[in-house]
């Protein structure tokens, strides 16, 4: 696949019947986003999405931090596909950009090295007695949100504009390296300027800010984050992005990948603690949203059921700019009752 220009490249998205696989990081840190994705698919778009409780991690984080062998991850992936085959599904819906990259990479390797595919089939059969088919399509959750962006907008009276001034909100997007940098044809618009997020922002009324470090990695780095003494790698790379975007004064950051979402949120807090500064003017940080969370907001969902209270950078400045209707005081309510509030950071305002 080598189109002369990726700008015209449209990825094919199936219309219905998805086999859903979860993300370790998203379900742990942004559980409301994953739930919102399923609600959007089922309750609003009336799509058939099937989740098999026996599916597991793809082991991608272990693989990219080099404690899981290629043969092992191939067979774990094969097991997920076996569950999918057994359930009669052909479209894989992945909630994680790392996983998405893993699936694409393994399919590519199986294609280039058919003997590896055969080995994997044999390994899976011996280990579990299961057999699998390669899916007809593989999509990331953001692909589906993008594909149905107009349908989602049709349910909504909201536009991504400042309710007071009527001006479009300024957003920076962070697509996440493994979405299309590994396989440009795996994403909408190719590797350099995928429009899976920018297309959402623009068609929902916002304005996308192009800034110098737009395509720079958030700095996850797998083993560079997992080990505390290496975390400076991750922090420093996110800092490169923040410093580069700050002059453009974005109203929010939109992310594709759960890992990136975590880092762009948490590193703002960490940098505020370490260096005493934030990257917005008000000391509140730049709100960071995942694509499902933004879609949930478009659909009028309660931010505290979307899990936005689990972000360390507050999101209220964004909601207020949108003129969004929500209850400020119920942010830290659980089951309708107030809880002891989280401790306040020393610099970042919440």
């Amino acid at each position: 696949m080598n189109p002369t220009s990726w700008k015209d490249y449209q990825k094919q998205i199936p219309d219905d019947h998805f086999f859903f696989v979860r993300s370790c990081i998203r379900q742990s840190l942004f559980p409301g986003a994953e739930s919102a994705m399923l609600r959007i698919m089922k309750d609003f778009l009336h799509k058939d999405v099937y989740e098999d409780p026996r599916h597991t991690t793809c082991t991608g984080i272990g693989y990219h931090s080099d404690v899981v062998l290629l043969e092992t991850i191939m067979t774990v992936v094969a097991r997920q596909l076996a569950l999918m085959t057994e359930a009669g599904y052909k479209n894989l819906l992945v909630s994680c950009v790392t996983s998405f990259g893993i699936y694409l990479e393994i399919f590519e390797m199986w294609h280039n090295f058919p003997e590896k595919l055969e080995d994997t089939r044999q390994s899976l059969l011996r280990a579990t007695g299961r057999e699998f088919e390669i899916p007809e399509s593989i999509v990331h959750t953001s692909d589906v949100i993008y594909h149905f962006r107009d349908e989602i907008a049709a349910f909504s009276n909201l536009r991504l504009v400042n309710a007071e001034s009527g001006l479009p909100l300024k957003a920076v997007e962070h697509v996440g390296c493994h979405y299309a940098k590994i396989f440009p044809s795996g994403g909408f618009g190719g590797a350099e300027f995928p429009f899976v997020l920018s297309g959402l922002i623009e068609s929902w009324g916002g304005e996308v800010i192009d800034y110098p470090e737009r395509r720079h990695c958030c700095g996850f780095g797998f083993r560079q984050y997992l080990l505390r003494e290496n975390r400076g790698y991750s922090l420093s790379n996110s800092k490169i992005k923040f410093e580069s975007m700050a002059p453009y004064q974005p109203d929010f950051i939109l992310t594709n990948c759960p890992g990136c979402n975590m880092f762009l949120d948490r590193w703002q807090y960490t940098l505020a603690e370490m260096e005493g500064k934030t990257y917005d003017k008000g000391g509140l940080g730049i709100p960071v949203l995942t694509h499902e969370e933004l879609a949930g907001i478009m659909l009028g969902m309660d931010p505290w059921k979307l899990g936005l209270q689990m972000h360390q950078v507050q999101v209220e400045t964004l909601l207020d700019k949108l003129g969004y209707n929500y209850s400020k005081k119920e942010k830290y309510y659980i089951a309708g009752k107030p809880t002891v509030l989280p401790q306040k950071p020393s610099v970042l305002l919440v």
């Binding site: 979860r22 370790c24 990081i25 742990s28 840190l29 409301g32 994953e34 739930s35 399923l38 989740e51 409780p53 597991t56 991690t57 272990g62 990219h64 931090s65 080099d66 404690v67 899981v68 290629l70 043969e71 092992t72 191939m74 067979t75 097991r79 390797m109 090295f113 590896k116 390994s123 280990a127 579990t128 299961r130 390296c177 493994h178 590994i182 440009p184 720079h216 990695c217 700095g219 780095g221 797998f222 083993r223 560079q224 080990l227 790698y233 420093s236 790379n237 948490r266 590193w267 807090y269 059921k305 209270q309 689990m310 360390q312 659980i334 089951a335 002891v340 989280p342 401790q343 950071p345």
Partner: protein, 216 residues
Amino acid sequence: MSSLYAQLQSDIRFQEGLTACMNCGVCTAICPAAAYYDYDPREICQEVQSQDEQTLIHLLKSDTIWMCGQCLSCKTRCPRDNTPGYIISALRTLSQQTGYFAHSRMGRQQLRIKRTVGESILKEGYCVHPKLLVPAEHPEQGPVWQWALDHGKELFAQLGSNYYEEGEGGVRKIDDQTLGELNAIFSETGGLDFFDRIEEGMKNRPAAEENQDSLF
């Protein structure tokens, strides 16, 4: 034992990762590791394509190969269709298989990853799950994460999750039969042996370096 280069070549990631590097540096230019560490993926390609056994041993024993963050931004840009990130994966696997990883400080960090993420996969079915993100080890997760853990079950329920309970949903408990299948896959594909290699490599690490860093 065949030469290290021959062993690298038997790794399909190496075959896909290195054709012939012309030292243009587009990989290093946008490499997040090169922005932070004294690290240069181009130089690694150069060293590897020398095919020199001593150079490779030096590389496998070095901190350098552990600096890559696997973002694979290098794959997009390389004008020769190389992928330095894949070469790194092959080098890291070989370094652990040969035990050379225990010669470098950053290589020895693999033990902790194996004992956290690696064992979590087998025990919980996840690489990462909320209870693994202990606030004392993850201060960057902020006070909100402590609050989230304090109210784990109720909070996750409110957000539509199934916090460490059986059945479907996010953060669910993975059933024993599934965990058995995961273990069988690891056993069948050499994954458990690989874990043992990491533990053994650390036991056999060079004595002179024994006290240079703590295990945990």
